[in-house]
């Protein structure tokens, strides 16, 4: 075709932009781990906290993944097609856009011994007039960490399920199975779950890999002595002695091995579950009694997840404007804007830099994703499964396993500490989400519009700019908002590639979390959440404004 130029290369370029940093980073982590007679590994093995740290990474990660998946499937199975389901769909995007650090801080404010829950129950139910001496936060079993992960991963898995549902033909299959006498849950499990899960597999692996290795959530909510393996790797990396770096590299390699082992075990569990499912189906599973229980449980988990996030964030907001606030009081005695005023200059500069990095990473991601999708359309390329795996690569390989190596590369080339380098590192994580968010809507566009445009003499480029892009403005802006949210929430890439000198709202919020200034933490965490929320609001408002006189562009169309 006439425009066979650079566009044709967009998919390959994009895949390379994802593979090269991950591969180079892994290499850059492996080499120091094994150099000097594997000194790093010997130091690692000498560390007494090693086995509990590995065990914590495994238990919290697997538990969080299993719980999130179970909660998501329960919600979908028992509420699909109801009004509550529609309500959850509306709440989803804002919940999803809450950065991990803000969610963790909110949850911390909620469940801490002096947090909102304890305040609401005291003193009348508990008799406490002082914050109790209980280790609820940072508990040694990682229960708070697991809960924190679940509140963030349920919205993510739910969104991925929503994207997969149209292909699973839910309504018809459930109806058929129910007409054969199965209860609703049994009908879902037997007739929908297998094809639904096959599409959820990659997102679930990403959740498992993430949950086992989350750093900022582990720093805020996780155990401390020892911390989870990934959190400990980051602590070693900050060690000014060079021995710390070698130990960190060895720990990162071990973390990667543990994640691979856990993924393999998960795949094995999938196989067993599939066999069990076939048995159940052959046995004529009906399980009517299950339906009511499941429904109750679904409403409960859905509400608990949403409430934990929303109340946590509300807690942050109240703390940020709190004057005097003594222990058992449910609300502060007075409100004041003093914290905001005092922090305003710092908030403005940190927020500005955060936005700048997010805008750069998102704009570039969006351009690449659009180029890929347009190349796919113009050259009638059919997306391969391999490409999907590459897209998930940065989400499957633990950040602690490849970012240290990437940091060394950044250091050597002298770009470490520059905001553009941080934005480039963010791109690796932003791009997959932008693609996953935009691709379904882009591909579902009516191809006859394109043929109509071409038949009127419009070039493919004109069809793209004047027809496809404006018609798909809403999903494009939503994908941009997703990208913005992902970038704003990045902790480890910002910390490592920024060399500690590029301060964003997220790195500041996590850094503040170890100190006790709840009011200041509240301001940073709140702003960290407001930026992505604004993005989503704009993605809704702008198309609604532009196309207010175009009925054919209404949301349902």
């Amino acid at each position: 075709m006439i425009t066979g130029g650079p566009l044709r290369w967009a998919p390959r370029l994009t895949l390379a932009l994802l593979v090269v940093p991950v591969a180079a980073g892994l290499l850059g982590t492996l080499i120091p781990a094994f150099s000097n007679d594997a000194k790093g590994f010997r130091a690692l093995l000498d560390w007494p906290g090693l086995s509990p740290a590995v065990w914590l990474s495994l238990t919290t990660g697997v538990a969080a993944t299993a719980l999130s998946l179970a909660a998501t499937l329960l919600l979908v199975a028992s509420l699909w097609g109801t009004r509550v389901f529609a309500l959850i769909q509306h709440l989803l995007a804002p919940l999803l856009s809450v950065p991990h650090a803000a969610a963790a801080l909110g949850l911390a404010f909620l469940i801490a011994p002096s947090g909102w829950i304890a305040r609401l129950l005291s003193p009348w139910a508990t008799g406490w007039t002082q914050p109790p001496d209980l280790l609820i936060l940072n508990d040694p079993y990682g229960v708070s960490l697991t809960l924190g992960l679940v509140t963030k991963e349920v919205p993510f898995l739910f969104l991925m399920t929503l994207a997969a549902l149209p292909q699973a033909d839910v309504a018809r299959r459930i109806n058929v199975a129910q007409s054969l006498g199965a209860g609703r849950i049994a009908a879902f499990v037997i007739s929908v779950l297998p094809s639904l899960y096959s599409q959820l597999r990659l997102p679930v692996y990403a959740v498992l890999a993430y949950s086992m290795t989350a750093v900022e959530m582990a720093m805020i909510l996780g155990p401390t002595r020892p911390a989870t393996l990934s959190a400990q790797v980051v602590i070693w990396m900050a060690d000014p002695m060079l021995t710390g770096r070698a130990t960190a590299a060895a720990g990162a390699v071990l973390q990667l091995a543990v994640v691979i082992a856990a993924l393999l075990a998960w795949v094995l569990a999938e196989r067993i579950a599939a066999l069990v499912l076939i048995r159940l189906a052959e046995g004529g599973l009906r399980a009517h009694a299950l339906d009511a229980v499941a429904r109750g449980l679904a409403v409960l988990t859905g509400t608990a997840t949403a409430a934990a996030l929303i109340l946590g964030l509300a807690g942050l907001a109240v703390w940020s404007v709190a004057g005097l606030w003594q222990f058992p009081d449910a609300l502060p005695a007075s409100l004041s804007l003093k914290t905001w005023m005092r922090a305003a200059p710092d908030l403005a500069s940190t927020g500005g830099l955060t936005l700048l990095i997010a805008a750069a990473a998102t704009a570039l991601s969006l351009a690449l994703v659009l180029a890929c999708l347009e190349a796919e359309h113009r050259y009638a390329l059919s997306p391969q499964t391999g490409a999907l795996w590459v897209l998930y690569l940065p989400l499957l390989v633990p950040q602690v396993a490849f970012l240290p190596g990437l940091q060394i590369a950044a250091l050597r080339s002298g770009v470490e500490g520059h905001w553009l380098a941080v934005a480039a590192a963010h791109l690796v994580f932003v791009l997959p989400y932008v693609f996953l968010s935009l691709a379904p809507a882009w591909r579902a566009w009516d191809p006859r519009v394109s043929v109509a445009g071409l038949s009127l003499g419009a070039t493919p480029a004109r069809v793209f700019w004047r027809l496809r892009l404006p018609m798909l403005l809403r999903p494009v802006l939503t994908a941009a908002a997703v990208g913005l949210a992902v970038s704003v929430g990045q902790y480890l890439p910002t910390l490592l590639i920024g060399g500690g000198r590029v301060e964003t709202l997220t790195t500041e919020a996590v850094a503040l979390s170890s100190g006790g200034n709840r009011r200041l933490i509240g301001t940073y965490a709140l702003l960290q959440m407001v930026l992505p929320a604004l993005g989503f609001a704009l993605a809704l408002l702008v198309p609604a404004m532009l196309f207010r006189n175009r009925r054919g562009m209404a949301v349902s169309a």
């Binding site: 009638a380 109509a452 038949s455 009127l456 003499g457 175009r550 054919g552």
Partner: protein, 217 residues
């Protein structure tokens, strides 16, 4: 610019099966009708003339339009107009902007372009509709806008893929005679795909299957 549309031994195969075999010349103002059962290859024949055939098909032969060999040209350079079963008006543009989209870049200046759009609306009995949202038009009005949009692009040939099948009986005859009279007036060679013998009769030209076999009405 008008001229004949020549299909020179145009053959399209999908795997081992031949779906299209046409070897004929369509004169300016003539409407060739293609009829045949669903899935027999009617839309495929049009896609080959349009240049939008899926990679699954193999094509041999040539398509000559007004003396130009367009067989390997990309769709937007072929100057072949197309009307679908649905009007496929662009939902984000006003009626006037839909029409202006089709104007060739050679028409320069806001006022000149606006004048052509208004003239086209007048000819379709839609004076003053330029600012309207296409979603607020009736089926017949939308069909007329779609035709005028196609004509404003100054095509050298017109392809029609069951363009009347979604309209109800009364409207159908009315739009059909509007479209056919425009084709004769502009002197365009046209190919009409339809399931309705009445369409074929009104078109008044030859009637063949996608494999070129004459059809008796």
């Amino acid at each position: 610019m008008t001229g004949v549309l020549e299909l020179q031994d145009l053959q399209i195969t999908q795997g081992q099966t031949r779906v299209v075999a046409l070897d004929l010349t369509i004169a300016p103002g003539e409407v060739l009708t293609i009829m045949g059962p669903s899935g027999s290859g009617k839309s495929t024949a049009l896609a080959a003339i349009m240049g939008t055939l899926a990679p699954a098909f193999r094509t041999t032969g040539r398509v000559i339009l007004a003396g130009r060999d367009i067989t390997t040209l990309p769709p937007h350079l072929r100057r072949v107009g197309l009307l679908f079963q649905d009007d496929v008006l662009f939902p984000h543009l006003s009626v006037g902007a839909n029409l202006a989209f089709a104007l060739p870049p050679s028409v320069k200046g806001r006022i000149a372009r606006r004048a052509l759009v208004d003239a086209a609306l007048d000819q379709a009995d839609l004076s003053g509709f330029a600012a309207r949202d296409p979603a607020t038009l009736s089926g017949g009005q939308r069909a007329r806008v779609a035709l005028m949009r196609t004509l404003l692009a100054q095509p050298c040939a017109l392809l029609l893929d069951e363009p009347f099948s979604r309209l109800d009986a009364g409207l159908r005859a009315q739009i059909r005679s509007f479209v056919l009279s425009r084709i004769r007036k502009e002197g365009l060679p046209a190919v009409l795909v339809t399931h309705d013998p009445e369409d074929a009769q009104a078109a008044g030209g030859r009637v063949v299957t996608p494999l070129g076999i004459p059809v008796k009405l």
